[in-house]
């Protein structure tokens, strides 16, 4: 098979896959929140209400597409696209499994094994803020602008500790490639722990997960769309599928961040203490690695939902305070200690 064809298949697969996950996530969020809150949630469409996202999608598609009269037409249209595109493309460098052998050909379960995968993620990830700001500005609505501004400030401040944590992991593994980082997490650490990033970087993991919540605009950092304060934030004026794109983009972002968490800190597709490749056929191993990876991602996706329905929301200045006064110093200290340890041990 041609490499191009394989790449194309991988791209199509991962797009469909993330879309499906994002769709299912809307269901998980609604049902999960319901269960947490002693409710039932949507359970009418299909078994367990599984077709609810479908119904939602149909609703979003068939709703009238309204552009406010005083809105900036181009920016208003551009907003959702700018938000959704980076969300979809960021996943390109994140692996979703080890490798699979089909017809004697070894296929990496990753769209592109770029050796500067980190930089790509950071670069594309920060693009998403433009979608929010442009959408917020283009709507010509004060709540939207407030949401956009909040989002900008928040994403910019949290990208710093996020970047520093990423840098720390790079230092630990000595590579920018996400695949190599994944591979390096096999085996055991200190003899009895799985050789996962979380055990090497416990503080780094906490910092990463906090900043990831802020990057994904999830509670407790959902200020850009804090509904009780600024109605719906940047997407107040949006309706129909434009709104759908924003909502989808958010879930895709969540998926990417969860996958990144697994890749960096939770041993990617490795099971603790067990090397699957030794007793599984290469094809079965490919599938198994994918499934293990996804199971881990699913846990973090659930954590996103779980946390959302447990904690209250921050205030704008407190988010800034936390970012600049707590997370950045901690991230820097973490970086410093890691550097020291790496320097001493190597």
């Amino acid at each position: 098979m041609n490499d191009w064809v394989i790449a194309l298949i991988k791209v199509v697969f991962i797009w469909t896959w993330t879309l499906i996950i994002a769709t299912i996530m809307t269901w998980v969020e609604r049902r999960g929140s319901a269960m947490i809150q002693d409710r039932l949630g949507p359970n009418r469409a299909g078994p367990f209400g599984l077709f609810q996202p479908l119904a939602d999608g149909i609703k979003l598609f068939t709703k009238e597409d309204i552009i406010p009269e005083k809105a900036h037409k181009i920016l208003f249209n551009l907003g959702p696209i700018l938000f959704a595109l980076p969300a979809f493309s960021a996943y390109a460098v994140v692996p979703f499994g080890d490798k699979i052998v089909i017809g004697g050909k070894e296929i990496l379960l990753q769209v592109a094994d770029v050796n500067v995968g980190f930089l790509y993620i950071v670069a594309v990830g920060s693009m998403a803020v433009y979608g929010i700001v442009v959408g917020g500005w283009g709507s010509n609505n004060k709540y939207s602008i407030l949401g956009g501004l909040r989002s900008t400030a928040q994403l910019i401040s949290y990208e710093v500790p996020w970047g520093i944590v990423l840098l720390t992991t790079v230092m630990v593994y000595g590579t920018f490639s996400l695949r190599e980082i994944s591979l390096a997490q096999q085996g055991t650490f200190l003899g009895f722990l799985p050789n996962w990033g979380i055990f090497k970087q416990p503080l780094g993991f906490i910092l990463f997960i906090v900043t990831a919540y802020a990057e994904a605009n999830r509670v407790p950092f959902d200020l850009p769309e804090a509904e009780s304060e600024i109605v719906a934030g940047y997407h107040t004026e949006y309706g129909s599928m434009r709104l759908g794109l924003y909502l989808f983009g958010e879930y895709v972002n969540m998926y990417t961040l969860a996958a990144l968490m697994v890749t960096l800190f939770f041993g990617a597709w490795h099971l603790p203490y067990v090397d699957m490749s030794k007793f599984l056929s290469p094809f079965a191993y490919g599938i198994a690695s994918f499934l293990v990876f996804f199971a881990k991602v699913a846990f973090f996706l659930w954590l996103f939902v779980w946390v959302r329905w447990t904690v209250p929301r921050f205030r704008y200045d407190q988010v800034m305070g936390l970012g600049w006064k707590a997370l950045i110093p901690l991230a820097l200290a973490n970086l410093f200690i890691t550097a020291l340890v790496v320097q001493l041990t190597v």
Partner: protein, 207 residues
Amino acid sequence: MARPVVEKKYSFTERIYLYEIVKGLGLTWKHFVKNFTASLKRGPHTVPTCWQYPEDRREISPIFRGEHLLLLDEQGREKCVGCGMCARACPAKCITVKRGKVAEGEESRYAGKTYCEEFQIDLLRCIFCGFCEEACPKGAIALGKGYELARYTPGECQLTKEKMLANYRREKELGILKPPRKPVPVAGAAKEAAAKAKGADEGKAKD
């Protein structure tokens, strides 16, 4: 205005955010597991909040104040005599009653000598306070169990005599008619009765 400055004093576990958040996560997880297992069960009202409405309905109080009924007595005669006390007691002024004299030969249909020719309740105005029920000297009107009051047109919201009688028949069939109102014990009533029994003198003296 001098705003008081409040010093925030946090204990260590409060200061680090995560301890309390993890505790909270534990609590919500407990709820999740409980409700998840409950939701797998069949049957009405498996989780505390939800009733699967059209299929499952919550039990409503035997003295619920819903859509009105016009009551018949044991012989199937209309109790209402059309006196209009309900209309006078109504704070929302939603009742219209027209009194009519019972024609000869129709005595078997009506309990009294007069009857209501026309009895209309405007459900759009009604506030379901139940004062009509209390005001009625014959116990002819009652607030029933009907709580599904959505209608398509304003005209359908006019509760006519026929509709109220139909409501009564339906509720009687279902056996959910309101138990008759217990008379409220009034202060001094017992004493007065006793005084009457003893003699008029004491009753006067007490006054």
